[in-house]
């Protein structure tokens, strides 16, 4: 799964195709209120320079300014580059840029001192965000306060983005194969023409915890989980009930992106002080699609990070540029019964649905399991203790000789972090 090193050429490519950048911006109001007043950071003893940097409060307007600079840089870096932006708020996703065709086109008149595409992009993003905020406001005023508890609809935004990708570069497997079934599609689909734009998706996550479902805090207290289960079932009722839409939907998106060879980059904004456990499903998504996952450390310099990590198109990432070292990925799954995140689960041998406890009948396919084996399975389940994800990204300064020691220390630290993370409360207002 690790991206293979570029074997084919040690030369820099003469030109790269234009690239389309699809940004999914999490604008969940609760998450941003958390980000704008971050708790003080723990001391970072390994590197005194980093330790000097203070925790930076990051509000949405500040970040949007930074993002606009980044997007303008993307537009400017090659003729033909394009930007598409989706906003994901509580339970809904919307296209922010490019504007819908019937909308009023851009600002009233172009300013003479600015590059027109920049101006168009900036004004339209601003306008789109304001519209979306107004809609949220309206929703709240209509007494729909509960809706704010929904996680940001990343999956909806992702599906929209993938549909968009499919429209600008139809995959040969569906439409083309239908029209011309004799074509040797396997070989044809892989060949990227020189002018075929590269696409990539950048998810900017602001919600702490994995935002796939409310109850992702792994191994939480049972009462808490029960509550979350209720919340979810209510949500499903109103949604018309695609069960476990979050996890299953995200995974489906990941596979579709894999098929279309679209990397999903993830920038997770909540620093470790807010959010000890990384959004593991977004991390999985980035890992599986060979995208870049990176978590902000809460110490400013976001624009620099954006430029250094996410600006190069996929074809240039590994050579001549480099990607940041990717951390260990926990391939956990969500159970279908209580939406818990699992290290070890019980899987139906017929339909492969995942459960967190032994049961006599499969919920999905109604297969009966041997009842007598349940006690043994139950005892098995009690032996399981989660193993913390080891902190494997090397610290900035490593003295030779003390390497192993440090790694051990990190692992310990991570363990304690994970324990804290488990207790952190889900966002909830009433």
């Amino acid at each position: 799964m690790v991206p293979p090193p570029p074997m084919e050429s040690r030369f820099y490519p003469k030109t790269t195709p234009p690239s389309v950048l699809l940004v999914i911006l999490d604008i969940h109001p609760l998450s941003w209120s958390l980000l704008s007043s971050p708790p003080p950071l723990p001391p970072f003893t390994e590197h005194p320079g980093i330790d000097k940097a203070q925790a930076t409060p990051m509000s949405l307007p500040d970040f949007v300014t930074i993002l606009m600079v980044f997007l303008n840089a993307h537009l400017a870096s090659r003729w033909g580059n394009e930007v598409v932006i989706y906003g994901a708020s509580a339970g809904r996703a919307k296209l922010l840029y490019p504007p819908p065709p019937n909308a009023v086109a851009g600002p009233s008149k172009p300013r003479p001192n600015s590059y027109h595409p920049f101006q168009l992009l900036d004004s339209r993003i601003e306008q789109g965000l304001k519209e979306m905020a107004a809609e949220e406001q309206e929703r709240l005023e209509n007494g729909n306060v509960k809706s704010l508890n929904e996680p940001p609809s990343m999956v909806s935004a992702l599906t929209k983005a993938l549909c968009f990708v499919n429209r600008i570069q139809p995959s040969s497997s569906t439409a083309a194969a239908l029209i011309d079934p004799t074509s040797q599609d396997a070989s044809g689909s892989n060949s990227n023409g020189p002018d075929r734009p590269e696409t990539r998706i950048l998810i900017i996550n602001a919600t702490p915890g994995s935002n796939i479902s409310n109850s992702d805090q792994s191994n939480g207290v049972s009462g808490e989980n029960g509550d979350d289960g209720d919340n979810n079932s209510k949500g499903q009722g109103s949604k018309g009930g695609q069960m476990r839409g979050g996890y299953v939907g995200l995974m489906n998106c990941v596979f579709a992106a894999q098929k279309a060879k679209v990397p999903i980059d993830v920038l997770s904004l909540p620093p470790p002080s807010i959010d000890a456990s990384p959004p593991i499903f977004l991390q999985q998504a980035a890992h599986l699609t060979e995208g870049i996952y990176w978590q902000w450390n809460g110490r400013g310099a976001l624009l620099q990070y954006l430029h250094a990590i996410y600006l190069p198109p996929p074809s240039l990432r590994h050579h001549p540029f480099a990607v940041p070292p990717q951390d260990a990925v926990g391939f956990r799954a969500v159970c279908f019964c209580h939406h818990k995140t699992l290290d070890v689960g019980f899987v139906c041998s017929v339909c492969l649905s995942i459960f967190c406890e032994p049961r006599s009948v499969c919920l999905m396919c109604k297969t009966r399991f041997p009842i007598k084996s349940i006690p043994t399975l139950k005892t098995l389940a009690t032996y399981i203790e989660p193993i913390p994800v080891p902190d494997t990204v090397p610290p900035p300064v490593i003295q030779k000789g003390s390497k192993m020691h440090q790694i051990n220390e990190n692992a310990k630290k991570d363990k304690s972090k994970a324990v804290n993370g488990d207790r952190s409360d889900p966002i909830e207002i009433d």
Partner: protein, 466 residues
């Protein structure tokens, strides 16, 4: 059974006579195909007395009709409609499918593979299709394994042992020099080898063979066992055998696939061949009489206890397996792995005992937990949560209900409703005259492209998902 053994030689004679008579199966197959296309278009066009090869030659391009303006748009749309119909069939299939599959592809590499009725040769066409077949198969059956056996010179040989790595298979399949067709095939040898290769596998996983049979005879070895005893073995071992014949229907092939619960098909032309092969990709629905699940491959720590209990009770169809979801380590330093005892980079951590494993899916060497990467499981989830087919919106409905102007998926603008003329908009089944398809759950409208993409690839409705 004795009746059959008497019958077999006669069949072969007959088949050979047929071939000698009209010497190439190509034209006759074209005729058949035309007939089928005709049936689809408008009723049955041929009288029952005539054989397919006596029918008039039908040109495949005749079914594509230009519309008044001379464009092919309507023809393309009808093709799309055909795709939608197929999908409607898919959605109704049962939920219970065997997802852990083991498949041997038995490839006939006899001299008949050099026939030129498929362009450029049968051999090239089959190899090309097999390559995309393997990719697609692993896409839909991530927990499955494929092996390839080839039959030539009356011998069978394992080309690729059973394994779960498509790259390995593809690299073997791309080496044409090793696959030069020659001699005659021996169906019996091929089947015996496939059976031997799967004998160690548990009965919970679906054991299958796919035979691509190009010649019209099989040269089996003399001896006490005949192909009929092999067939009996296949039936008792529940090995589902599907056979795709390129030349013609052969009695023994049909019999084998019927008795083992597989499919038998004679490819009429390249498209049909592809259809037949692709039909075997989705996991087969398991029948109720599926074997009991004793001593499953899951290395449950208490496997023995489970097994004993399983036998006595009413035979359960499924089993609950304990699976662990590992942590993948980045390619940092080298550490010792538990499975080989070698220094390796990367690897996976067993979630229960924390030992490092080289690859998943596997059983943990230390604690016996079955370690599976959760994305592997998640690949099959779209069988469990299929997206309901979208409804077609008529012009009036769009006029009535206030709907958005853009597709809820790709945000492309829909064609203006008022400009659609009633006469031109042909209401062919499955194709929306307004270009809009509505999800029944979230009441969002989608364009035809997104509809296809969502149902074929994405398997998630943008409106219904969070």
């Amino acid at each position: 059974m004795p009746l059959d053994s008497n019958y077999t030689p006669a069949v072969e004679d007959e088949e050979e006579d047929d071939i000698l008579d009209d010497d190439l199966p190509g034209p006759s197959s074209r005729g058949k195909k035309g007939g089928i296309a005709g049936n689809k278009a408008n009723g049955k066009g041929k009288d029952p007395g005539r054989h397919a090869w006596e029918a008039e030659y039908k040109k495949s391009w005749d079914i594509v009709q230009e519309d008044e303006s001379g464009s092919l748009e309507s023809a393309v749309e009808s093709l799309l409609a055909r795709g939608r119909r197929k999908r409607a069939l898919m959605a109704d299939t049962p939920l219970r499918r065997s997802i852990i599959r083991h498949l041997f592809i038995i490839l006939d590499l006899s001299e008949s593979m050099n026939d030129k009725d498929y362009r450029p040769t049968r051999f090239e066409v089959i190899l090309g299709y097999l390559r995309s077949y393997v990719v697609e198969w692993f896409d839909q059956n991530p927990l499955g394994q494929i092996g390839i056996i080839m039959m030539r010179d009356r011998l069978s040989e394992v080309l690729v042992p059973m394994g779960g790595n498509p790259q390995e298979i593809l690299s073997v399949l791309s080496d044409k020099r090793k696959l030069e067709p020659s001699g005659e095939p021996s169906l019996q040898n091929g089947l015996v080898m496939a059976k031997g290769g799967m004998s160690h596998l548990p009965t919970t996983s679906s054991l299958e063979t796919l035979i691509i049979f190009s010649s019209i005879s099989t040269a089996d070895p003399d001896g006490p066992s005949t192909i009929h005893t092999v067939l009996q073995d296949l039936v008792t071992n529940e090995i589902r055998t599907s056979i795709i014949a390129l030349a013609g229907e052969i009695k023994i092939c049909k019999q084998i696939s019927e008795r083992t619960g597989g499919k038998f098909g004679v490819a009429l032309d390249q498209d049909h061949l592809k259809d037949l092969m692709w039909e075997t990709i989705p996991p087969p629905a398991t029948t109720i009489s599926n074997p009991t699940t004793i001593g499953v491959r899951n290395a449950l720590a208490a496997a023995s206890a489970t097994g004993k209990n399983g036998v006595t009770g009413k035979t359960p169809v499924g089993d609950l397996m304990v699976m662990g979801f590992p942590i993948q380590l980045p390619l940092g330093g080298e550490t010792l792995c538990a499975c080989h005892g070698l220094l390796k980079k990367g690897g996976y951590l067993c979630p229960r005992c924390g030992s490092k494993l080289c690859d998943v899916p596997t059983d943990c060497e230390v604690c016996g937990l079955m370690v599976v990467s959760s994305p592997h499981l998640a690949r099959s989830f779209w069988f469990l949560f299929p997206v309901a087919n979208y409804g077609v919106l008529a012009v009036e409905e769009v006029m009535d209900s206030s709907t958005s102007d853009t597709c809820a998926g790709c945000d492309v603008e829909f064609p203006d409703v008022t400009s659609i003329e009633e006469g031109v908009a042909q209401v062919e089944d499955g194709v929306s005259p307004t270009g809009r398809y509505r999800c029944a759950k979230c009441r969002n409208d989608f364009c035809a492209d997104c509809d296809l993409y969502i149902h074929d690839t994405l398997h998630t409705c943008p409106g219904c998902s969070q």
